[in-house]
Symmetry: C2
Subunit: 387 residues, 2 copies
């Protein structure tokens, strides 16, 4: 297989690596849920104006290149991946050598001063292991550095590595009020002292409403990610200007538009190659206030091909969706992660994925389940065989 | 609580740390199952004579201080923890700044030249995070270094970190023939080339018998470990020469002899403090050919107290055993790990521990399940509250 020959030659000949073209497709994914503000029912992250997002994304080393919205979610295609802004949920997914944790402080300030939120309810920072970690920029030069950075903000964040850490794996830093502790309280820090003071004032009141809230059922929520490597070069060729002149052509030709029906698609084909798409939909059930989305990002070069699929679409059986995605892209290896809270119809995803030992020619090599304060997580890794 | 004050003062005043007495109770645990040798039915690790074990343990930086046996298992108390030798299973558990991975090559050589084994069937190297990793000796200065060392021997070992890696966690390197790959083949290596050549010769024959064996049910096997920190100083005082003059007195006074009935106990009380015990039993069911054991090691100093409990006793309900152990030692925090293969009566341990959200005043903070090639693993971490 030409692809794996390319891969082995690039990794064995390290002296010439510096000269080779390389792009890190693996994204850093930051998802933050702000706690509803009892003193401000109109709090909304979408109040933050575009120039402020532009400035914030400069600290991340990327920029907005396309935008679409519905009445639940603002969806941005970025020069490096995507950003989704809802009333109280913020998602930033960026690839390459971007530095999303660098925008953490400015984001908290905008959330507090403009959007009206002073408390984080849940935070998830996650990524697959990088293909070339040595090319990353601080504080992203390794998971330890990323954890130390986040630990400087939070007293009770928890860091996990799922999968075989000497092979394909996936890192997660998470923080959840559901844990019943002080884990949502930012540490004293000069830079965000103002926010901290606001939090202190709300704290007591909050703890009470918290008790009531805890006895209530949370809104259902779930996220599935499928992170694929060593993809079929024939499929990857679709996402080049050589083969397609427009993003829409690539979307149709690959079958991306059929993966989740009913999505309004905003797609982008990079020159000479590379592809990003955001899909948004209102057909995710009435209970889902923060908007339904999907997003796909493709690094097609055979030497370091990478495709990520992510969606918060609810399903009691992700098997079919996983099959559609991997039959579309034909990865050599892939990781699946599913987060689901207890009211989600995906709450049994772990048992369902447990039964997916083999999908077509892909065989599962790892499966791990973790119970966190508010969410259950299922992690699985598959390889094509014979490889 | 005096204990936690001691702990916080020792960690905040790092400049005086060098002068403080410290002992790393956290053990490195290496368990190796050699594959039955079809050409040599009399292969047996217990053929390795005592002087050779003495020499091997010198490379680990520890020595034998007591010995007991039955017809299934040889049990050694070491200056730093324990060693158990059965027909084809070898367990080495060592604390302090010992270097168990340094004996890996000599062990493989003894297994091949004296005991009659040339293939590893399963290997597990595991440990809790160290309290003071900076005091460890190569190749044990961090999990990354330990993984790199083991990866230099094996092509397909898999390394995992369970639990929150920025808090209490537990590391595992595992290798299993059950994975169906080439993972049991040692890499070409001058030092163990002879063993490797023997393996090559047996390889083809082995792969065939392997196919047959894979369709057979494995002998049931399971291991439970309970790793405890921040223990009740009143309980810890039992394990000092101040309070007890003999090991037997400490065993009886603490209630260790009641934890698992029917164990023949070999216990040792260190001067001025510290305690180790091995228990062996033949009452573990006829199917259990490699012998049943338990082992406990205690570092009682309040500044760095640590107790480990380990046993391969079979149970379909470890809840009662976990309760007995933690009510005996009163830890501030503890980790439970359970390995069980599919024929073990502990195969449902994960679901059972899932229901143990709270045990007395201990509350679970983490639970993770992993399916490996031959074993399922459950990891859970608990904290006492209010802490």
């Amino acid at each position: 297989m030409a692809e794996s020959e390319d891969l082995s030659s690039s990794s064995s000949n390290s002296s010439s690596r510096e000269d080779m073209h390389f792009f890190e497709g693996v994204e850093k994914l930051l998802e933050i849920w702000f706690a509803p503000n009892p003193a401000n029912k109109n709090a909304d992250l979408r109040k933050i104006p575009r120039p402020m997002w532009d400035a914030l994304l400069k600290t991340v080393r990327c920029e907005i290149i396309s935008f679409t919205r519905n009445d639940q979610i603002d969806a941005y295609v970025l020069s490096e991946s995507s950003m989704f802004v809802s009333k109280r949920r913020w998602i930033l997914k960026t690839c390459g050598t971007t530095t999303p944790l660098q925008c953490f402080e400015p984001l908290l300030r905008l959330a507090s001063e403009i959007a009206g939120y002073s408390e984080i309810e849940d935070l998830f920072y996650s990524r697959k292991n990088y293909k070339r970690p040595e090319l990353q920029v601080s504080p992203h030069r390794g998971f330890e550095e990323e954890v130390a950075f986040l630990d400087s903000f939070f007293d009770d964040g928890r860091a996990y590595s799922l999968g075989a850490i000497n092979r394909d794996c996936w890192h997660l830093y998470t923080l959840s009020r559901g844990g019943g502790g002080t884990n949502k309280i930012l540490k004293r820090n000069n830079h965000i002292h103002q926010l901290h003071q606001q939090q202190q004032q709300h704290q007591h009141h909050y703890d009470d409403s918290q008790m009531i809230e805890a006895s209530m059922q949370p809104d259902p929520d779930q996220t599935i990610e499928i992170l694929m490597t060593e993809l079929d070069p024939k499929v990857m060729a679709i996402f080049t200007k050589d083969e397609c002149t427009t993003a829409k052509e690539a979307t149709q030709k690959s079958g991306i538009h059929r993966l989740i029906p009913g999505m309004i698609i905003d797609d982008y084909l990079f020159d000479p190659c590379g592809y990003s798409m955001n899909g948004i939909s209102k057909n995710c059930g009435k209970k889902y206030k923060e908007g339904c989305y999907m997003t796909i990002h493709i690094t097609p070069e055979p030497e370091f091909s990478y495709v990520s699929f992510e969606s918060n679409v609810a399903s009691s059986d992700y098997g079919e969706l996983i099959e559609r995605v991997i039959r579309t892209f034909h990865p050599g290896k892939f990781i699946v992660t599913v987060f689901a809270n207890k009211t989600s119809i995906a709450a049994n995803a772990s048992r369902e994925i447990e039964h997916l030992g083999t999908i077509d020619q892909w065989k599962r090599r790892d499966i791990q389940y973790s119970r966190f304060a508010s969410y259950d997580l299922t992690y699985a890794q598959y390889c094509k065989y014979p490889s």
